[in-house]
Symmetry: C2
Subunit: 678 residues, 2 copies
């Protein structure tokens, strides 16, 4: 077992893969198929240029409902001296060129051969046989007009839209709805498109269970294949999801060989690292050639790139695959197991190959320059992709980094973009510029309220209500104190904060003065939030309040130093004069509410202080003890902004208050109260 | 028959439609259905917020392959004074807290209850029973480490990604691949989404024929339903395309009634104007209520909005439609027949309704400000949407208007964006700013070479070859002279030009001096292009050259005054001393090459001067007479730019030369020759 991966730079890995495909005759479009224009042609890629078979229109057509005329007959018409044209029948084609004539035409009707212009019906007066104005527009004996028309006015000349033989679409074009119309208009009812590359997705891992399974400890839900499969569909490929394969070297080899026979590329998900059960590299080595094992990219470095042999000929090969006679290799990508790594690997390594196989341009995200809100440290050898939320605060586009954990798929869900810390840099300082690949349009960013601070689930509800007001709420969780600092730096519009001043029991105001000196703010109460003891289900030890913490049979678990909840605990312990030293487990520290709850759930502790939601999440009991206030802090310079005004509407909306009141452990009586306004 | 439409402002029309839907109880999400996550959930819209059922991870999981330890056991480890930890078995759960222990874990394995950190395998030395370094990593007796680890390092704590009960996705969210992963990770295998609105598309018109039909004069290919259907799919609806209905009032009424019973909305394509066979308004009036007939928007003003009664109950109604008990109306949109109008009507009137029915935000195109390259005149009462191509020339984003004909679907295919001339303005001057809804990303625009001038089909080939070099060619056809003026104004990167100086028989140079004084340019020859006589198939009159034009039995058709081809004709007539007056039809003018060809095809003339392609398009014969040179004119300030350098690569590419040489009527021998370099 080789323990260490040898990470090579991203660009080298991509190039090595490309060259291997080139050598195998696979760096080209895969094949062509003809499909009817009206059967799922949308999104397919033209395999060759489309040339017009017919012109459109294919005759000189009237562009209006009106009367076809010879322009020269109308030259003398004036408002006060109208001219009269006799109306001739549909059948008439050879006419006396001396008389002034006209013929009724609907929009789209062919112009009579003798005509070269159309007078719109609203510019005509219909006359009956006696030369009197007639109410019957269809079939008058003659018409009167009071203005001349230029030759070819209100006519769509033959070929106005498309001239037979002209290029309608180039090859490699991804078909949009209007393209289908243009291709049809040019005389085609079928179109030759690149055939869809067939991609096999093989999830491996004894610990994997299908989505929707009842979970046991150690089980991992297999959803990567779902995400990858949807991505392949979006990219224009045809995915096949295989059932989960347990960690069995021979079994994996067998499945890879099978998949390689009937697919254009195989994705082997997980097992790509260097652990005891990471077989992917050995599988590729056994079945073909390992090109790359490890790429200097984060997340996603344990990538495998290789080519596996097709042992047998594929009897079901399509006619357009005849060139594959010369092929005997199928490319394979070992995709890392963490969901963010997996998604990124597909974007970085599979997408360019699919683009080549389909003959289209690689997908491309818009790139914008943004200011980083906090320092990013990154190994200098890696291309590091960091998920960020974006907002425009004042004149600056700001990028606030989200969780960098490769296992945190919700960070991809929340991300507004992907910031690159390029290879060769150790990191990027807060306030510096960073290149961001945008997941959202600039318009969306322009109506985004950026909230940096302490997170609370009521913010999710605010986001829902703001959506009705054409606003987005993007939030980054850096704690209350970090939020106030972000506001001072002009890096957020609002911050959620719940900082207790142990000197006087007030919330936030003294901290705002400390961290945001000289900056006028508006502070509005959002909710009262219960803090209390998280205890085992049905509270077997009968714990009631903080006094029980000194019981010899009660093991406590604490939050880390500086956490708001720990400040709250210390404050209340001092009020009832309980010395910290008398509490068993006071020095046992957890870093999150959920960490405390899980210490209780696992039996490591009997209780800990936290919020109701954490207890609820792990099906534990909760004894509410105190209420803390969670405020929204808004610099005055933004408080009057049109961007933020819907926020105050939401706080005043009874439906919002109602929705929050249904959450466990929240008090809405303070909602909207003005705490401070400078 | 009411001849005149009463155009109302766009915003009024939209609001009137919205209020009618509101009144009918239809301004809300239509219904909900539960679908498996792994069956076409991509692109569907969440019907309600998704809350997490389970945490992810749902236990403390190792984040690395390595050894689970108690962090406190490692505190004394130093590079020079390693510590040793015994490796315990998988089964062991209660352990002597005094001894230093570890256990092997793969990435994703649950942490033993006693552990709170993981030491990555690459930071360990495996020892055998005798305390010697062992090559077997799995199952050593003990391990040695030379650095301490902090608590919770290399551990993914329970809930790191998702905490049970948290909000995973809001309602009204359009599902992307990563969203499917997050929903699966939070314990769901099915998802409740908005049901797809069912939209009926009824094409009407006796003149319509299905795509792929052999065309007779007056036939119109029915492809609007194809475009509209693809648009509805993209927007998340479920389209039904009905067969073509002839212009028969009763028949249309019957089909609309049928469609209204089983669909959420009916689109009646064409017949929405006020001509003799425009039944749509009468149909809506008969079957329900006509809300709007005519909207002040271009293209697309003859729009009809209305509500039709559902005469009978729908027996096949789904359970989620029970609220429809109270409904008895189906909205109907009369869509204009011109393809550009039809596409725009769907965007403007149907999309907002689909968005509301699906509960998602309306689709939104990014908007950028661009400088207009030529004046746009527009009726002051209308919102006028003008298709433009875009390019960045110097520092400015430029918008060059394309054909404004509502029948020109290729203008939508070529468009990079849609410029709005808003209601209340008479037009916009060249050089002024205009708001453009972008069809392409800013990145694409940044690599666009903007060509304004005379069009030639070799430009289409250049575009194809440039695509391989990551460049786009956007071209707007304003004629040779217009192109030189655009270059002078800094509104294009290159211009195609074929201007003959009749004084000396040279091309372009004297015109460049005249129209671009003082601007250094580089001029490169692109092709020699045949001009010649377009004659009937098999040339029944045996026409050979210009001398035949004075024959009594030959009727000529000319191009308009100022056209390059007419300049060419006059030049050659003067060379052989033929007076214009002696040519029958010299004053019969056409405005395009194809106009000349069609005059010949229809028998109106025996011959005309033009290019080979026009003859080929209408299956006529062509007698090449002269060759004119078609050059590319490039200001020196751009000629050295990295944006344009691939253009010179293409001109030097033998494959390009080969491709052009296969076009009829082109000479590639001059290709790439330097004509002028200041």
């Amino acid at each position: 077992m080789s323990v260490y991966l040898h990470d090579i730079p991203l660009s080298h890995a991509q190039e090595r893969f490309r060259l291997a495909l080139l050598e195998a005759g696979l760096w080209r479009t895969l094949g062509v198929e003809e499909i009817p224009l009206d059967e799922n042609a949308l999104g397919r890629v033209t395999a060759e240029p489309i040339w017009a078979e017919v012109s459109s229109p294919h005759y000189h057509a009237s562009a209006m409902d009106g009367f076809a005329v010879r322009a020269e007959d109308t030259s003398e018409a004036q408002p006060t001296t109208p001219i009269q044209l006799s109306v001739v029948s549909d059948q008439l084609s050879i006419v006396n060129l001396r008389s002034r004539i006209s013929r009724y035409v609907d929009t789209g009707d062919p112009l009579p051969e003798w005509a070269n212009a159309v007078v719109p019906i609203e510019n005509t007066e219909a006359l009956d046989e006696d030369g009197q104005i007639s109410p019957i527009v269809r079939g008058p004996s003659s018409i009167r007009i009071r203005a001349s028309v230029a030759p070819w006015s209100h006519v769509r000349p033959m070929g106005e839209d498309i001239v037979a033989t002209q290029l309608v679409l180039p090859s490699g074009h991804v078909l949009r709805p209007v393209d289908l119309g243009a291709v049809a208009a040019s005389g085609h009812h079928a179109i030759r498109v690149a055939r869809k590359p067939k991609i096999a997705i093989l999830p491996t891992g004894t610990e994997l269970v299908p989505i929707g399974s009842k979970l046991k400890t150690g089980d991992i839900l297999e959803y990567n294949s779902l995400v990858i499969s949807a991505k392949i569909e979006q990219m224009g490929g045809e995915p096949t999801r295989y059932p989960i394969i347990p960690d069995d070297f021979e079994l994996i080899c067998k499945q890879v060989e099978e998949a390689a026979k009937t697919h254009d590329l195989v994705l082997l998900n997980a097992g790509s690292s260097a652990g005891a059960e990471d077989f992917s590299a050995r599988v590729v080595e056994k079945l073909g050639r390992l090109l790359v094992h490890g790429v200097a990219v984060r997340p996603g470095h344990p990538v495998i790139l290789g080519m596996v042999k097709r042992e047998t000929q594929d009897a079901n090969r399509r006619p357009d695959d005849l060139m594959r006679e010369t092929w005997n290799l199928t490319p394979i990508i070992g995709v890392p197991g963490y969901p963010v790594s997996a998604a990124l690997t597909v974007d970085i390594f599979l997408e360019p190959v699919l683009a080549r196989w389909l003959g289209r341009r690689p997908l491309e995200m818009p790139i914008e320059e943004a200011t980083l809100t906090r320092k990013l440290v990154s190994p200098p050898g890696d291309d590091d992709f960091v998920r960020v939320v974006l907002g425009r605060v004042g004149e600056r586009l700001l990028a606030a980094p989200l969780s960098r954990g490769a296992g945190v798929i919700t960070s991809l869900v929340q991300a507004d973009g992907l910031a690159l810390v390029p290879r060769g840099t150790q990191g990027i300082e807060a306030g510096e510029k960073v290149q961001v690949r945008m997941y959202r349009s600039r318009n969306e960013i322009e109506r985004t309220i950026l909230a940096i601070g302490s997170h609370d689930m009521t913010l999710d509800l605010i986001a829902q209500f703001l959506a009705e007001h054409q606003r987005r709420l993007a939030s980054a969780n850096v704690g209350s104190q970090g939020g106030l600092i972000a506001l001072r730096r002009g890096e957020a519009h609002i911050a959620g904060s719940h900082l207790l001043d142990p000197n006087d029991g007030t919330y936030n105001v003294s901290y705002i003065r400390l961290y945001m000196p000289g900056i006028p703010v508006k502070v509005v109460a959002l909710v009262g939030r219960d803090q209390g003891l998280i205890v085992k289900k049905e509270n077997p030890k009968g714990i009631q309040n903080l006094k029980d913490l000194i019981r010899y049979d009660v093991q406590f678990v604490n939050r880390q130093r500086g956490a708001g909840t720990r400040v709250l605990l210390d404050y209340h312990l001092s009020l009832i004069s309980i010395p910290k030293e008398s509490i068993a487990g006071y020095n046992q520290e957890e870093y999150t509410h959920l960490g405390v709850a899980s210490a209780v759930a696992s039996g490591r502790a009997d209780c800990g202080l936290g919020i109701a939601a954490a207890a609820q999440a792990l099906d534990l009991d909760f004894i509410p003890l105190f209420q803390e206030r969670y405020d929204l802090v808004i610099p005055k310079s933004f408080a009057g902004d049109v961007l933020l005004s819907p926020l105050f509407d939401v706080l005043a909306d009874p439906r919002f208050r109602e929705a929050v009141s249904h959450l466990k452990g929240y008090d809405v009586s303070v909602m909207g109260a003005l705490i401070l306004e400078d």
